[in-house]
């Protein structure tokens, strides 16, 4: 008993007191800022492994970007990745960062269905479906519930059964072989329900976009309530995005 107390004492306080204000340590590749500096735009486009960069004006689509940061190494005067981890939104167009812009990525309140705050603002139970995910975003979603991030304090939790869930969180590019189980799982969640795409693979297919082993018909069929970019998703990105989605608005 005494040993247990000693162990507890030695851990100190591990939780992040305010996740909405928390900063990530060290270097991090969050929201990019693109300057108006002129560069060889074609070379920049060719550099990107996932076709996330487009020209005129130069844009980075965070729904396709896998945050390798190679563009920022090659063109440091043009592109820099900031430590701003709040990069999720419910508006697919807002994931596209334009040159000359340095404003935060936010949710579009007009697109939030009104039943979301009504039903889920105090309690949200989610069923996670991995559909070709490489286990990196899955590890980070697990971390959301650990003693460090402690997402459970907001009433947001992952549950074992879709029957107990208010929505699903999809990771991975969605393989053909998972298309049917994903649909069955979604159908088993009672209404009203939400869909969150977690990680760049889930949003666009990422590096797997052209693979014939994928079946991306599912996300095309439904309204997506939250796009959470990342490779993997950072727990702070996920938690803050979900809090923004479900909070009551005046």
């Amino acid at each position: 008993m005494l040993d247990n107390l000693k162990i507890l004492l030695h851990q100190g306080k591990q939780y992040i007191p305010d996740v909405t204000q928390a900063e990530v340590p060290g270097v991090f590749r969050g929201r990019p800022v693109i300057t108006n500096a002129s560069v060889d735009e074609q070379a920049l486009i060719d550099l990107c492994p996932t076709g996330a960069i487009s020209a005129k004006p130069v844009c980075i689509d965070l729904g396709k970007c896998i945050f390798c940061g190679e563009c920022a190494f090659a063109y440091p005067d043009k592109i820099r990745f900031t430590k701003d981890h709040k990069i999720a939104t419910n508006d697919r167009n807002k994931l596209i960062i334009e040159e000359g812009s340095d404003s935060p990525v936010e949710l579009n309140p007009g697109l939030i269905r009104k039943e979301i705050a009504e039903y889920f603002s105090g309690s949200l139970k989610l069923r996670q479906v991995c559909a070709g995910g490489d286990n990196s975003s899955e590890l980070e979603l697990n971390a959301c519930g650990n003693v460090n991030f402690d997402m459970g304090r907001f009433g947001i939790e992952f549950v074992a059964s879709p029957r107990h869930a208010d929505g699903i969180v999809i990771t991975g590019p969605i393989t053909k072989n998972m298309a049917e189980p994903l649909q069955i799982c979604y159908d088993a969640v009672p209404d009203p329900k939400i869909i969150i795409l977690a990680g760049t693979d889930a949003i666009s297919g990422g590096i797997f976009t052209d693979s014939p082993a994928l079946d991306r018909s599912f996300p095309g069929k439904y309204q997506i309530d939250l796009y959470v970019p990342g490779n993997p998703v950072h727990p702070l990105t996920f938690i803050n995005a979900v809090l923004e989605l479900i909070r009551r608005r005046r």
Partner: protein, 504 residues
């Protein structure tokens, strides 16, 4: 006459230097080799070469620290005797050959689809109709679990045949994670795209798989990485081992409802992966390892932080582990649960931590070392009971061993060497034509093997990935026999195998 060629880890050889044998001779040679203890099959696969299928078999000799490579050419859809009938360790390699090329093995005991790849030979095989083994009995019942599991983990289906609470048989059906990654290695032409693919083979083994890929690429390019690259990669590999092993100890505690261990080991993982982020901007090391260069030099400031981190970690880790191992309620759940015997492990060709828990001293870091491991005498951690507790103890000892190594390496951090400010301009541009290369890396799960074949122009003709999970999933299925079904989660977690690494 030599009917094989011996090569070293990360060595590129002309494709035509690999002797092409008659199929029967290939079978006799390789099935004879693996009967000796120091040999095991690290990769056996086929690819289309003209209108034939070229088979390449790679058998590692741990005593001589080299790899025996031999080949054969066969017709697709041919009917052949199987290697598996002589040695079970070939079973999944032959299931793959059967699935991809329609090769019919007359005496293979378990010729079922392996992963339902998109380019499989027979479209009639559908993932929803997997032919499960069945026992028709009034007394027995079946339990199906998955593909979607209760926690946040990857999908796979487990079918148990039980007598009451007791598991008689478990069959594991995979393929849900199949993303066609080996084909993408050929279709995506840019080095950066291929590096990103390597990072995505298994997102919990970023350092392991990406190191194997860059080893392949640098070897094909005739590029010798200098000390700072070797240092960063080896450090990353061992940091990854510490982080995931710690997370697994937490998960093992979760599965036996030991809350204190679950929380403390879970929180001990956090500073380790946060340090990775401080180093390279990503908690799971994505973005760090690149062929021919290092975007994130390891600075003295990082070294100082890491030293402090390891000191703090080790104290708290030791306190928690020592408490856990004295608790009868913990030991009762871990000891004699999920046993894989040495005989079983050897027969199925178990690798890595799972093999070492059953007494197989198989570790690429000592048998086929590369990078910093060529300069130290690594002794694999080996246990003999083959149970969940052995796999728990191995994690603890490997964590401490990795910390010991890292402390040594931090004494002599190589200076950043701008050997390759622009890799395009030197070396990496041109890969050797008509060549074969193999790279072996001991990831935290076990041995990772990547093989590449190039064409007349040095372009990739074929890329083959093997995650250690390919060997070890059967070990999990064997371990749960005669255990209670309630012990399945703890057995599963003690192996912590990769679904996406298997399904590719």
């Amino acid at each position: 006459m030599m009917n094989y060629i011996t090569i070293l880890n990360n060595q590129t050889i002309p494709l035509q230097s690999i002797p092409v044998l008659k199929y029967e001779d290939l079978m006799e040679l390789n099935t004879m080799l693996v009967k000796r203890k120091e040999f095991h099959c690290v990769n056996y696969y086929g690819y289309l070469s003209g209108n034939k299928i070229k088979l390449i078999c790679c058998i590692a000799n741990d005593a001589e620290k080299n790899i025996y490579v031999s080949a054969a050419e066969i017709e697709s859809n041919s009917s052949l005797p199987s290697f598996t009938a002589h040695h079970l360790s070939f079973h999944n390699f032959e299931r793959e050959l059967h699935e991809n090329f329609g090769i019919n093995y007359k005496d293979h005991p378990w010729l079922k689809p392996l992963r339902y790849s998109f380019n499989r030979n027979s479209r009639e095989q559908q993932i929803e109709n997997y032919p499960f083994y069945q026992i028709h009995s009034e007394e027995l019942h079946e339990v199906g679990v998955g593909p979607i599991h209760a926690g946040i983990i990857e999908p796979g289906h487990f079918r148990f045949i039980c007598n009451g609470e007791q598991i008689l048989h478990l069959e594991i059906q995979l393929g849900y994670q199949h993303r066609g990654i080996e084909s993408l290695f050929l279709n995506k032409k840019k080095l950066l795209q291929r590096t990103i693919l390597a990072e995505s083979i298994a997102g919990d083994t970023v350092a392991g798989h990406t190191t194997a890929f860059v080893n392949v690429w640098e070897s094909l390019s005739g590029f010798n990485p200098c000390d700072d690259l070797l240092f960063a990669r080896t450090l990353a590999l061992e940091m990854e081992r510490i982080a995931i092993h710690t997370g697994d100890l937490s998960a093992i505690c979760t599965d036996i409802a030991y809350q204190l261990g679950s929380s403390v080991f879970g929180r001990l993982r956090t500073p380790v992966i946060n340090f990775m982020q401080e180093w390279c901007g990503n908690r799971l090391l994505k973005g760090l390892i690149r062929a021919g260069k290092n975007n994130f030099p390891f600075t003295p400031e990082l070294a100082e932080k890491l030293t402090r981190l390891l000191n703090d970690y080790e104290t708290d880790f030791a306190e928690m582990y020592n408490e856990m191992k004295t608790l009868p309620t913990v030991l009762a759940r871990l000891e004699k649960t999920g046993i894989v015997t040495l005989e079983q492990a050897e027969s199925i060709g178990a690798v890595g931590m799972a093999g070492r828990a059953s007494g197989i001293a198989r570790d690429i870091r000592s048998s086929h070392p590369s990078a910093l491991f060529t300069r130290l005498n690594h002794e694999p951690v080996v246990k003999h009971h083959g149970d969940v507790y052995s796999r728990t103890q191995i994690r603890k000892e490997e964590i401490l061993q990795s910390i010991y190594y890292i402390r040594q390496w931090l004494q002599a951090i190589p200076k950043e060497n701008n050997q390759t400010p622009d890799p395009i301009s030197i070396g990496l541009k041109k890969q050797a034509p008509n060549s074969f290369v193999i790279s072996l890396v001991e990831g935290w799960r076990g041995e990772i093997c990547h093989c590449a074949v190039t064409d007349d122009n040095g372009e990739l003709l074929h890329y083959k990935i093997k995650d250690p999970s390919l060997h070890n999933w059967l070990a999990l299925a064997l371990s749960v026999r005669n255990n209670e079904i309630s012990d399945f989660p703890i057995c599963n977690k003690s192996f912590d195998l990769s679904y996406c690494g298997h399904d590719l």
